[in-house]
Subunit: 340 residues, 4 copies
């Protein structure tokens, strides 16, 4: 086996731990040399890292950036730190995998992307859903021309339960926190850029979410540069679980996917014909996609090819989310070019 | 068997013939006494009526209205005649079944409804899809409280092929000709009135449709009085056939239906796992619903109960369509109350 | 319209009434001139026939046979009368549609078929399932070569509830009463004759069925002349309704069908993803097939072509059923040639 | 973390490598200390073991048995060595995981099981399909009483392509090589022992398989002690891939599973509605089950509980296969008690 890519990872929360486990167990081409986390002195995290085989753990992320053996960093810390860490990593010459969103501010994102450009390092944003087996099959059918020119893109994206209210308050709101994945998916599937957005939204799940200044239910219409029209529907609470379906309709037909279920078992009784509910939430549903996106990042770094989801994608999704917020506030369609 | 309801039918085009056949073959509680059609002197239509067992055929619809044995009329003539025929029938004291739309003008509809009200006759509008087995099952699940309070209504409604351009030019446009069924379905499923509309549309199927001043592809967002949000997507051309699916998502879950197919056969070969396309078009797909709506009308007349789809429903769907047209023209959400 | 085929119908039980209604309402090429039933003097049946437009009703079936205008008879009386009525009708020169089975005795069937042959009249046996939209699609895929050479035929055939015990006692048993349809379907799908049968069966639904000398659950293996193997599984009681599925597996793939449901609606809640149960029983499930088989019979008579299911088919299914009975009794595979 | 279970593994063919990777990457509770393989001196295998983190590799399996730190052995060598290795491992006091079948001879299996019993070590047989998410869901529904008492068990099990002829010749034949999994599954699902077997089989895929003394297509009927009836259909070649479906039908209903597919994407075009083929073969389809069975074995050893699939299961499946062979040869149902 060739030399492995040495990685540093910043942040060992839920998503950081997931990436670390995937890298150490399932991606033989890479390994983590240093983990930085603000809680790195606690036993629990130390033991976790040791069991996983991570050689070093620190509270100071700068140790990763100055280690010459480390070729790339994986940024999984809180959103407000992403842009600064990208800049620091870029200046240190490290390739970068960063969780979404890059930042809630378009200006800050642009600054970070400028640093990446100047340092000529690779940047991949954690839009893991592009690497999901179902959505990828849909995309491949589109790319293969099976449905002709895309005309309608339809995304159903519903969470099984709202996040804690404390999280809602700092999340940036439904569009920047949840729909942002769908905005990226819509661009991915349409193969075209969004030029205008109209958002309808409401508080139908929990009044406390409204009191916190957010919405929990939305329908967002997207107009694409190529003339196609997209529509996303969101809810923070689907009683039956995590509902993740997309459809692309085009001049030659349609391709859609359905939810994954824990099994294909179907029970028929006097009460009806009962199948399983969708996989509960993103860790179960998109489990494999997290591995696939990281493999793609490692491969891009090792081969020198472009990353499959770059800084431009990270920027666009935030611009669309901001346009949706403005549309909701002003109850009118908003052009992306209005946002800046 | 009790005395049958004697019907007069006006118009023996495609839909008129369908209703006539359904009544004569499948609805033993009613029979057609007189058929009025402007082509009633042609042999073809005369023979058709005779074979079907219709005793009398005339070019003059007034014969139906003055026949005291006739209890109700079925109006299947061209849209521009509907309102006047409703008024004449109402004044003659006949109950009325009228194909949709009542008229393209809201003012004219209101005049017709006033005549119906004054005559105290029954009026049913031909929104046959409410009587479809699939959509009705969805509605019944909603009524039974199985999905809780409706929050999102989603309708996919795509024709297999555009109508002839000559028809497009006089049709009133996509919203009044095609989406009008979906507007009615959305109200039916939501159990609430539409208060505002935002329409995005384009010419993606055939430039000639655009040249004729119409669109062929649309996404329409609906806001309901109860806070629910609806979204309809339309195309004039689905390569795989007639695509007719609805979903209602609510606080306790979701209910959706899928397309009907000519058979359930599935062929698995090296090329894939292949099922049948949807039933081709509305005559195949909604075949049974046309029988059911007419049975419901006959039953309403015979029992004295209210018709299941009345003049108010006929008016609302046109108001929503007009709001959608205005929204498309002005690229802004339009309130229903703006239309008059 | 051309002259219609005049029919006589013998027997106005459940299936006789169904055929009569289908002919009078849905098959314009034919009409019933005389109905013969042993209860023809009762008001209920007289009124029923009158409402349906049948001109004459009699207790004496010979009136049909001597009426020169009647071209064909439809035999729907009890099984024990079929063979004699076929012989009488054949000698009267009438074409014959006869419900299955022709008789429980192979010898008696052969005598009846001989009479048909000598009179050179057409005979169709009421194996309606061949005319079902789902099974016919499966057959068409096989005929079109889509799955290559058939190798395995699999039939799941389960009733929603057992018939009354009194019926069980005179039915000839599961194989002659219920599986006989599946034996015919297996031959139809395989395109080859059954040469040997092995039957495993048990009393798992109701001990009273066992006490009556019958079984209620069975798995029957069929060997075909072309080397293909078939397997049928039966139960008299499926809690979820009427389960009717077939599969043909061949050198290039497989084709199978699924149950029909009253609607395609699917309800997703915390309790699961629930679809509808199969259509309850044969009148709902195979409704259309009864119309189709009668249309095919009328067309065969009017055009002079062969009927699609003839006397040979009626004989074979009884021979297979008899072989299955012998196999069950002797617990060994039985060749069809052993039966006579 | 507690001390891990130290394992020795014997045989690094396809299945041995799979187990080794699963243990080293996905089962933190265990690790492999020694790998024994007859090719252990070749660089390829040495490098593979080193990359995987296996500390030692040897050509002599006895090193595993004498290492006091090793608590259990995983036997993945060729079938003809299984029984002797089980005996040796048992005498060395090691717990044992052994691939199926234990042996092709019932007598030899009994000797091996006797050794296991005398040594009081644990034995698990590699019937991985019991650990598949779909089949397990079916079993759980049965155990939960959802379908009442099992009455019919139906298993469709078809390979995508026959194995090489050289393999066919030494495999023991279809029943001992392929159907053996289905025999175990049938017992698992029925919750009852097979008492008699009737096998119908043929050479429909490839005459060379027949020339080698084997069959490639079969339908096997099973009678269970509790009165239930089972039926398995097999083919060595399904053009559309690996077809693995089971159904249990009982007094309260039915539970069945469907094939897994690489994605849920469905493409609708003028050509039809096309879904994906089943996952190609057992490594893709049953991937997760191999991990689950090994986790279950490790847990049984660490907790002292019984293994979920024991020696008795390994013996029964071979007895059923032998009865099926005898049934096929003699064309009669064969009781399990006849085999010995």
């Amino acid at each position: 086996m060739n030399e492995r890519l040495q990685l540093g990872i910043i942040g060992a929360g839920r998503i950081g731990k997931l990436h670390a486990q995937n890298i150490m167990h399932l991606i033989p081409e890479a390994k983590i040399k240093i983990l930085a986390d603000i809680l790195a002195e606690q036993d629990q995290i130390k033991n976790w890292a040791k069991d996983l085989g991570i050689p070093r753990i620190t509270t100071d992320y700068r140790e990763l950036l100055t280690d010459p053996e480390i070729g790339a960093v994986v940024i999984c810390s809180s959103t407000d730190t992403h842009a600064d860490l990208i800049i620091a990593a870029a200046r240190a010459g490290k390739h970068i995998f960063c969780e979404k969103p890059i930042d809630l501010s378009a200006a800050k994102i642009k600054t970070a992307l400028q640093a990446v450009k100047e340092a000529n390092v690779k940047l991949q944003i954690g839009f893991n859903r592009r690497f999901d087996h179902n959505h990828r099959s849909v995309k491949e059918a589109v790319l293969a021309g099976k449905i002709g020119e895309p005309q309608l893109i339809q995304i159903t994206s519903r969470d099984p339960a709202p996040p804690p209210l404390e999280y809602v308050k700092v999340s940036g709101g439904l569009f920047l926190d949840m729909t942002i994945h769908d905005f990226d998916m819509a661009r991915f599937l349409a193969g075209s850029e969004v030029v205008a957005v109209y958002a309808a939204g409401g508080v139908l799940v929990d009044p406390a979410i409204g009191a916190a200044g957010d919405i929990d239910t939305a329908v967002v219409t997207l107009k694409f540069a190529n003339g196609a029209i997209g529509v996303i529907n969101n809810s923070r609470q689907a009683a039956y679980g995590y509902d993740q379906r997309v459809e692309v309709f085009g001049s030659k037909g349609s391709v859609l996917d359905r939810n994954d279920t824990p099994s294909t078992a179907v029970i028929s009784t006097a009460a009806g014909v009962v199948g399983e509910k969708p996989r509960y939430f993103f860790l179960e549903r998109y489990n494999e996609s997290f591995v696939n996106e990281m493999k793609a990042f490692v491969a891009a770094v090792l081969t020198g090819q472009a990353t499959p989801v770059g800084g431009f994608d990270g920027l666009q999704s935030v611009l669309i989310a901001r346009a949706a917020l403005k549309s909701l506030a002003e109850n009118r369609p908003v052009k992306i070019e209005e946002i800046d």
